[in-house]
């Protein structure tokens, strides 16, 4: 007497997964209801947007002096904050690397980094505006804190990944601690450090156009004022200028990285990318 047995199950049902997806779906519906998100409002909003975009064109550059002054201030905030942040992040990052430092140094330093990373730069900027008053100084300090957090953390992680064999060899020569750092540790992380710094400069440039909204200097203040006065054509001019500034920054950052990391000369930068890389490689071979 044979019974047709059920075929073996190839894919087991995971009820936890199903419950998880269901919970997510339920929450999305609940949150939308809470926040009064509805299709009608999106449609009305699109209408407003069209009206507002229409008023943005043509952009109005007539108050260009104010615009240039704001941009200059943003650029200054970004560069100063990056420089200060890099100088401070170097020792802080080094001290929080757990493979080089004893726990009683690395843990407090890690706390400093965590603290610097906890808040968005705008929140930090609000605090500094309260502390040192309106103006660029508050913006510089806020972005310095952000830079310490970002570069310090990544730098520490880079150091924790280095080859300790190279460090061991330098230690074996009887080198003092600082020389071990300079010859055994920093050469291994220098290229990545330059990378972190240029990314942070890029990010500071972006954020320096924003801290002005809370009164911490730069083009952001001008932008916010223009919005409030419904000067949409001027808003458009400001936005275009910010885009230009950011693109310029990104362009520069790319080339700083190229010079330090790929070992290119300044002249190489004006060649096409593939040719540039080949020529760097060729020069490397010529040295043989």
């Amino acid at each position: 007497m044979s019974t047709a047995s059920a075929p073996p199950i190839a894919f087991r049902v995971n009820w936890w997964h199903r419950a998880g997806w269901l919970a997510l779906a339920v929450y999305v519906v609940y949150a939308s209801a809470q926040l009064d998100v509805s299709w009608d409002r999106v449609v009305t909003g699109l209408h407003n947007t069209a009206h507002f975009l229409g008023r943005m064109f043509p952009p109005n550059f007539s108050r260009w002096e104010l615009l240039v002054k704001g941009l200059q201030e943003s650029l200054e905030i970004a560069v100063l904050a990056s420089a200060l942040g890099i100088v401070l992040a170097l020792p802080i990052g080094l001290c929080s690397a757990r493979n080089l430092m004893p726990a009683w140094i690395s843990w407090p330093m890690r706390l400093v980094i965590v603290g610097a990373r906890s808040f968005h730069p705008v929140i930090v900027a609000i605090v500094f505006v309260k502390a040192v008053g309106f103006g660029a100084l508050a913006g510089i300090l806020a972005l310095t804190v952000a830079s310490i957090g970002f570069i310090g953390k990544l730098f520490a992680e880079a150091i924790e990944e280095i080859s300790l064999k190279q460090v061991e060899a330098v230690r074996a020569t009887g080198a003092p601690f600082m020389s071990v750092i300079g010859f055994g540790v920093l050469p291994q992380v220098f290229a990545r450090f330059i990378g972190f710094c240029t990314y942070q400069l890029d990010s500071n440039l972006r954020n320096s156009t924003m801290v002005g909204i809370v009164g911490a200097g730069g083009i952001g203040g001008t932008l916010f004022a223009a919005f409030q006065r419904f000067d949409y054509d001027y808003v458009c001019a400001i936005l275009i200028s910010i885009i230009a500034l950011i693109m310029l920054g990104e362009f520069l950052a790319t080339y700083v990285r190229a010079i330090f990391i790929e070992g290119l000369t300044f002249a190489d930068l004006f060649r096409r990318r593939e040719r540039r890389l080949t020529s760097a490689r060729e020069r490397h071979l010529e040295d043989d």
């Binding site: 061991e168 060899a169 074996a172 020569t173 009887g174 080198a175 003092p176 600082m178 020389s179 291994q188």
Partner: protein, 249 residues
């Protein structure tokens, strides 16, 4: 010159890697330490310059006990002990010249070293040594662009830059092909002989050890089980060092 007395080391309590090592190294010649993998040869070498901290015992070098030296004095002693590594341990992103000069870091303040302000006689000697190890013209090349043999030549030059009174070598040829291994051993022997620097070297290649060493120390299970000239290294002795006999045929 160097005298190791009752040296023991255990990384984990109760599981010694080295047990009661006694070893005298004369002021000249090459002493090769052979033995199976994991018998503590590297640990022994690293205990001498305290890259690994010994658990107990004494290591006398130039009239001082290295084991009890405080940090600053230990650094002074390390300057006198050059070391060559199995995987070369060059600083990959630095140039050959910078790697050589890192042998002088014990003598130059960090502030000068960071700015690459080494004394001119150090730089002159670095160039001279580059010629000796057959790498003249390689000064500005980055270490990571060299072949294994070339890297080990830089490794040897870096150790000799220290003007050491003792050279330690931890399996310096284990990552190299047989021909390059012989060349490197020849170079190491020649340099050490010319400058009258005694060498303590770990080797896993018994034939190479017999060919170049003046004295062979056999280790097994963290103890010295043989100590004598290469011609006394019979099959019976090799059997006590490495165990078994099948591999000898």
């Amino acid at each position: 010159m160097l005298s190791i007395k009752h040296l023991s080391k255990s990384y984990v309590r109760g599981k010694p890697v080295l047990t009661d090592i006694d070893l005298e190294v004369a002021a000249r010649g090459m002493t090769a330490i052979i033995g199976p993998s994991g018998t503590g040869k590297s640990t022994l070498i690293r205990c001498i310059n305290r890259l690994v901290e010994p658990t107990s015992g004494a290591i006398e070098f130039e009239g001082r006990d290295l084991v009890t030296l405080p940090r600053a004095a230990l650094r002074q002693a390390r300057r006198r002990i050059g070391m060559v590594f199995q995987e070369y341990n060059l600083v990959e992103r630095l140039s050959v010249m910078e790697n050589l000069l890192s042998g002088r870091l014990g003598y130059v303040s960090w502030w000068r070293a960071w700015r690459r302000k080494f004394p001119p006689q150090d730089i002159a000697r670095a160039f001279e040594l580059l010629g000796v190890v057959g790498l003249a013209g390689f000064a500005h090349q980055r270490a990571d662009s060299l072949s294994g043999g070339q890297r080990q030549r830089v490794g040897i030059a870096r150790a000799v830059m220290q003007q050491p009174s003792l050279l330690l070598a931890d399996e310096p040829t284990s990552s190299l092909d047989p021909k390059t291994s012989v060349e490197i051993m020849q170079l190491l022997t020649d340099i050490a002989r010319q400058r009258a620097i005694p060498v303590v070297i770990n080797m896993h290649d018994v034939e190479l050890a017999k060919r170049f060493a003046d004295r062979i120390v056999g280790m097994a299970g963290g103890r010295v089980v043989f100590d004598g000239p290469p011609d006394q290294l019979s099959d019976a002795v090799l059997k006590t060092i490495y165990g078994g006999a099948d591999w000898l045929q």
